[in-house]
């Protein structure tokens, strides 16, 4: 693990050093090449100028005149040139051949005059080679220096870049080892660079995982706690039937109770799962534009007969604007509406009224269910959204105590809120607020 990390750092350092050195060497070569080319050009220009002068002198005064000019000039210049005249025939006349010059190391330019005579001027390349050799040595030194700097610098830079990654690795290791998800990667001197961003994201991911894990633990605790009661009833019923005298009718009754209790356990399990999934953000929502008016008419249709049977007046109040739409999961929102209406119808005594209305306020749409039931005592109000909380009045009724928790969880998963307004004896009004879907 550790050697792997170091190899990674070394690899990056080498990679950068190679690039850096490659670039430096390219520059060095280019400089050297340009310098040598310009030196050659300078020599050639000088030689050409002299050649022009000498050709003119030869034309004016012949070989002798040229020799005089060459001698007088070469005697005073510090950098002596090689000068030679070749006649039309094969006879060549060397006018100046500074001692010690190697003909191999001559940069020469030749000109043919009008009468066929050839004048040649040469310049030793020794000085030039000397200069280039010193330059090469200097460049070699500089290149070595660059390689050294590149390797060291690359290594140091990589180490400092890898350090936060190491910190991340360390944290992940400790989480894997200990199973504790509350560890976080420290951020020092946040510069907002990519690594800091990664660290922040990593911490955010840990937050999310921790939230999910604790939600799951909570759900598991709830499930195991809340399943005990119906399971106890289930077991009790069966045990009682077995302990008593054998009697088919008694058995049938007991079995029917068992089936009912089992269904109740199943519904409770599913609802608890839905709630915790909605709370942890893992409940899959099939979102589409949903017209609240449709939800109202569906839920009124569903509960009309029950309300009739209980002599409760169920109606949609006010206008139902058909274009009032929210972005949501139709089935889930219907479930929300049905749960609220179910509660309202259940608790409203005969002769009472349940009214469903929808509307908008600013950028929020609302769905409201108001009843004329007994209302909710103010000390119970804050707790009605809690899982499995059942107020004094509700204990007498059939139910799980999960309906409102589910409503709240689903609405909040849609980015909405729920509110309740109630006073003892004055009915209750539940309102669901959802972000409105702006018309396209």
């Amino acid at each position: 693990m550790s050697s792997g990390r170091n190899t990674f750092g070394l690899r990056i350092a080498l990679w950068y050093a190679t690039l850096f050195v490659g670039g430096a060497v390219a520059i060095v070569f280019l400089t050297y090449y340009l310098l040598s080319v310009s030196l050659v050009q300078r020599d050639q220009q000088l030689i050409r100028a002299k050649l022009g002068d000498y050709a003119a002198a030869y034309a004016r005064a012949g070989a002798r005149g040229l020799a005089a000019v060459v001698q007088s000039e070469q005697a005073v210049t510090p950098e002596r040139l090689f000068v030679r005249v070749v006649d039309r025939g094969v006879e060549s006349l060397v006018l100046s051949n500074p001692e010690g010059w190697d003909p191999q190391k001559l940069e020469t330019v030749t000109a043919q005059l009008a009468d066929g005579t050839v004048v040649q001027v040469g310049k030793s390349t020794e000085a030039r080679e000397d200069l280039l050799a010193r330059f090469r040595a200097a460049l070699g030194f500089v290149t070595l220096l660059v390689i050294g700097i590149a390797l060291t610098g690359g290594w140091l830079a990589t180490q400092s870049a890898i350090f936060p990654i190491r910190r991340l690795t360390h944290t992940v290791n400790s989480i894997i080892r200990t199973g504790r998800t509350d560890a976080r990667v420290p951020i020092e001197g946040a510069t907002g660079d990519a690594i800091d961003e990664l660290t922040l994201l990593f911490n955010a991911m840990l937050d999310k995982i921790e939230g999910l894990v604790s939600a799951m633990r909570g759900a598991l605790d709830n499930v195991s706690h809340d399943l005990r009661t119906p399971l106890a009833r289930l077991r009790g019923t069966a045990e009682l039937a077995l302990a008593g005298p054998a009697n088919v009718d008694r058995y049938r009754d007991a079995l029917a109770v068992c089936v009912e209790e089992t269904d109740r356990v199943l519904v409770m399990l599913n609802t608890l799962m839905d709630i915790s999934e909605a709370e942890s953000g893992t409940l899959p929502l099939t979102r589409e534009p949903v017209a609240l008016a449709e939800i109202v008419s569906r839920v009124v249709e569903l509960y009309k007969d029950v309300a009739d049977a209980q002599q409760v007046e169920l109606q949609s109040g006010g206008s139902l604007p058909a274009d009032l739409k929210v972005d949501g999961d139709r089935t889930r929102l219907e479930q929300v509406a049905a749960n609220l209406v179910d509660n309202a119808v259940k608790y409203t005594p005969a002769g009472g009224r349940v009214e469903i209305s929808i509307g908008r306020e600013a950028d929020r749409a609302f769905f409201r269910v108001a009843d004329t039931g007994p209302g909710i005592p103010s000390d119970e109000l804050p707790r009605i959204w809690d899982r499995l909380f059942r107020g004094d009045a509700s204990r007498a009724e059939r139910g799980l105590g999960l309906g409102l928790s589910l409503v709240k969880a689903i609405v909040e998963a849609h980015g909405g809120t729920v509110s309740v307004d109630s006073q003892r004896g004055a009915g209750a009004t539940f309102t669901v607020w959802l972000p409105i879907l702006s018309p396209m």
Partner: protein, 223 residues
């Protein structure tokens, strides 16, 4: 009608097999995936009930293998997982329907019969009949003993559902999802209210009662 059950849990396989036999099916049982593929390939079944979690070869692979062998027996998948993804995966592997454990046997039977009906390509009947109760699907008229009965739309939908599954006990949840297309469990007695109104119209004026309540389970229409 022949049915194949591929399920490794003995108790579940037992009660499904017994229930299907009572409903008139000839039932074979196997307890692992390999045996499931073998049995379904060896002879034709009208329907297969396949559990997802099986030893040796899981249920979805079994279905894929069968479909690859061009065996088109309709398959009802049983699974303990209830997420939409699992359902989709099950249907994509070639299953025809999906039922989550625990389930009411009534629901399983209704689904199995629906699968058999669908695959047997018997032409859709235009009338449903139980005893002297006749429901005309085209004119949407209901008569009992020749006397016309006036039903409201939901009552008609409930009666149609019960008459399509004669002798099958249907649960409140099944009625709720078929008649209203609502998939949740209401605390109030929506279904009871509708059933008692229907009973009021099709049973009360007549001597012989057809619509029965099975306590703890649901309702059944039988002669």
């Amino acid at each position: 009608m022949r049915a194949l059950i591929v399920e490794d849990d003995d108790t579940i396989a037992d009660f499904v097999a017994r229930g299907l036999r009572e409903a008139g099916f000839a039932v074979d049982r196997v307890a692992d995936g390999d045996a499931g593929v073998g049995a379904a390939s060896a002879q034709p079944y009208d329907v297969a009930i396949v559990d997802v979690m099986l030893p040796r070869r899981d249920g979805l692979t079994v279905i894929e293998d069968l479909r690859r062998k061009k065996i088109v027996t309709p398959v009802l998948i049983l699974s303990a997982r209830r997420s939409v993804d699992d359902r989709v995966r099950g249907l994509q592997s070639g299953g025809d329907d999906y039922l989550t454990k625990p389930f009411a046997f009534a629901e399983l039977l209704a689904r199995v019969q629906a699968l058999v009906r669908r695959s047997s390509r018997v032409p859709e009947p235009s009338t449903l009949t139980v005893e002297d109760l006749v429901l005309d699907l085209l004119s949407r008229r209901v008569t009992r003993g020749g006397k016309a009965i006036d039903l409201r739309p939901r009552e008609f939908a409930l009666l149609e559902y019960l008459m399509r599954n004669p002798g099958v006990v249907v649960s409140k949840t099944m009625i709720l999802s078929h008649v209203w297309e609502y998939n949740f469990d209401p605390q109030t007695n929506i279904v009871d209210v509708l059933v008692s109104r229907l009973r009021e119209k099709i049973d009360r004026p007549f001597d012989k009662k057809l619509l029965h309540t099975v306590r703890g389970v649901g309702y059944v229409l039988r002669p």
